[in-house]
Amino acid sequence: MAAPPPGGEPGRFARYLTAAVFLAPAFIMLGVWMVYPAVYTIIRSFFGPTGFLGSWVGTDNYKTLFTSSYFTTAIKNNAIWVAVVPAFVAAIGLIFAVLTERIRWSLAFKTVVFLPIAISAFATGVTWRILYDQNPDTGAINALGRVVSDAVTPPGVLSNALPSTASLQPHSGGLLLKTPLHPGGVALLGLTGIAPQDVPSGAKQAVEPAAKQGDINGAVWRDFKPGGGKPGVVEKGELGLPGVSVELRSSAGKVVQTAKTGADGSFEFTDVPAGTYQAGVGASSFAKPFGGYSWLGPSLITPSLLIAYIWIWAGFAMVVIAAGLSSMPRDVLEAARTDGATEWQVFRRVTVPLLAPVLTVVFITMIINVLKVFDIVFALAPESEYGHANVLAFAMWQTAFSGGGNFGVGSAIAVFIFLLVLPVLLLNIRRFRREV
């Protein structure tokens, strides 16, 4: 620090010294932990993988960054994060803020939605990983998916059944009896491979129906009893399979009639015109139950991460936007209403434009957050999917520390992230300089 100029204000030196003492701890820390490392990292990004500096490699590290598929995946995924998260967080926050504006218990709602911000992104990752489990028995989201899926396409009663004789052959998802049938014939459709607990409830002793003039009837039954039994023959101790959809096909292969089996497994096609037919079990009876979406698998891992991350941050946008709404000039809104604008017009033409500065803050904050996202990827994605879930900060850490040990490329990624947030840095400075 310069000595006080001769004839200067007395005590000026002492005042500067005081300021220096107050600032020293902060600036020493900022210098050692932020400025020195930033400079070092920029320089380091032009050198090889190991050593204090390593050997000069020019821009090779950056070339790796934009050519190796490991890093381009990270860049691509991070671009998706930037494109999706800020927009969704702002939109959901805006909707919540507007909806809660005139609700008496809005504080309770806001607290609930805001809560995830206090929780670590790591714990959030663990939490959502439990929800995303693929097995519908243990994963809540897929359990919900199963409820919906079962309502739309119910699982077949016989999803694992097999024909008991060679005359029953697979046919377009179902089974078809090769033996041709004529009116008055009987079709025996024996099935095996059905575990006792999979037999539809209400099943009774199977019965081979008597032939009937003008009809084709038959039975679908569990062609198995303790000890085995004779394939293709309805025996005592063998159960009928109720609720199975049976199809009658014409010689041209067209389905002409369908029927459902009764408790004893019997079915009946009535008033069949003369001709040759084939009977079989329809494909719907063999429909597999809902197996669950692979939320944590390669193709869905990034959307899954985005959903969990939006769950964290929607509350932030809501609170910031709600603060913006509450400081909104009421008279402007009232004037618009008096002029005959509908609520939607007021919202679209007055509220949203007036909120623009607040929405900008939400967008900028979220873009910065998303460019540095790390913890949730680490916790939510299974290790086997790290490659598909990859983002910049994660790639940086893996490359430099987790086995990678490549400080050159690691530094290059850090610099790349820094360059991406640089516009915000300049924006902050401009805003401050306008203030003073």
């Binding site: 670590s120 900028i364 913890d375």
Partner: protein, 297 residues
């Protein structure tokens, strides 16, 4: 911050609302309320699910999800928790987390307040330029410092120590701390400071006796933020700790066997979020204020 409510309610004649429009207005709010209740419940599901998972035995979790609690409430057990509290690894991790979070919070508040005061009330050359430098540092990503500090910590013997991790957090918390506190201090009444100076109080005395107490609202916001930020951190501790690990890193060691370690992962994760939740509920007002002030970050 909310403006003070006017002491006397102005008596403006309000045009009488027709009863029918009033009824319609209240009815119209019904669906919105229902939608909000549903959303609110949905928002709680993940955390609730984590808690229920944490109180079910592993054998149950292998075959059915946490919602089985509704049909088998008797399966709930504290045994996962009692096993965890006999686990010295977890207890050490919790202690380390507390050291890092508290140490960092105290340091950031003190160092940040000193600098914030200097920027707000002391006169020195280049003050604005130095403050611009601080603002520039606001958005510097942590990634820019990981590699150099990894090397430096090794040399300085700070690697794998709780204070090494706390100091890293302190440095990266300082720009925000200085920014927030300087802006708050600058709004304090000037005449109080002037009269203290005329009375001959030293700057350090003014700082300790006037600025810190008056700045308490901003300091509280800052402290809560720093505490939560460090308590919840994973990346810094993962990089600079090896045997000294906070709770997040300790749990992350179990992630590889996610399904079969759920009886450790779920209760430990829930314990890890109890402290932040308690802090959040106790100081919600300061938390939101800090968030609003800091959203330029």
């Amino acid at each position: 911050m909310a403006a003070a409510a006017p002491a006397v309610e102005a008596k403006v004649p309000v045009p009488q609302e027709r009863v029918s429009t009033k009824v319609l207005r209240i009815l119209g709010r019904g669906p919105v309320q229902i939608v909000l209740v549903v959303i609110g419940l949905l928002w709680l599901v993940p955390t609730f699910g984590l808690f229920i998972t944490s109180i079910l035995p592993l054998s149950d979790l292998a075959t059915s999800g946490w919602w089985q609690i509704f049909s088998h409430p008797g399966h709930a057990t504290w045994s996962n928790y009692s096993a965890l509290f006999h686990n010295s690894g977890l207890l050490t991790a919790l202690k380390t987390t507390a050291y890092i979070a508290v140490g960092n919070t105290v340091l950031v508040v003190f160092v940040g307040a000193l600098a914030g005061y200097a920027f707000a009330w002391l006169d020195f050359p280049g003050r604005d330029w130095l403050f611009i430098a601080v603002i520039a540092l606001l958005v510097v990503p942590i990634q820019m410092a990981l590699i150099p500090m990894f090397r430096l910590y090794d040399t300085l013997g700070l690697f794998d120590t709780w204070y090494g991790i706390a100091l890293f957090h302190t440095a990266f918390g300082l720009p925000f701390a200085i920014f927030l506190l300087r802006n708050f201090f600058i709004g304090l009444p000037k005449d109080i400071l002037e009269s203290a100076r005329i009375d001959g109080a030293s700057e350090i005395r003014i700082f300790l006796r006037l600025i810190l107490p008056l700045g308490l609202p901003a300091i509280a916001s800052l402290a809560i933020f720093q505490f939560l930020w460090t308590w919840n951190d994973l990346l810094v501790a993962l990089t600079f700790g090896q045997n000294t690990t906070p709770i997040t890193v300790w749990i992350s060691g179990q992630l590889r066997e996610f399904g079969s370690s759920l009886d450790i992962i779920a209760p430990a994760s829930f314990i890890s979020l109890l402290i932040p939740l308690a802090v959040f509920f106790a100081f919600q007002r300061y938390f939101v204020q800090g968030l609003l002030a800091g959203s330029v970050k």
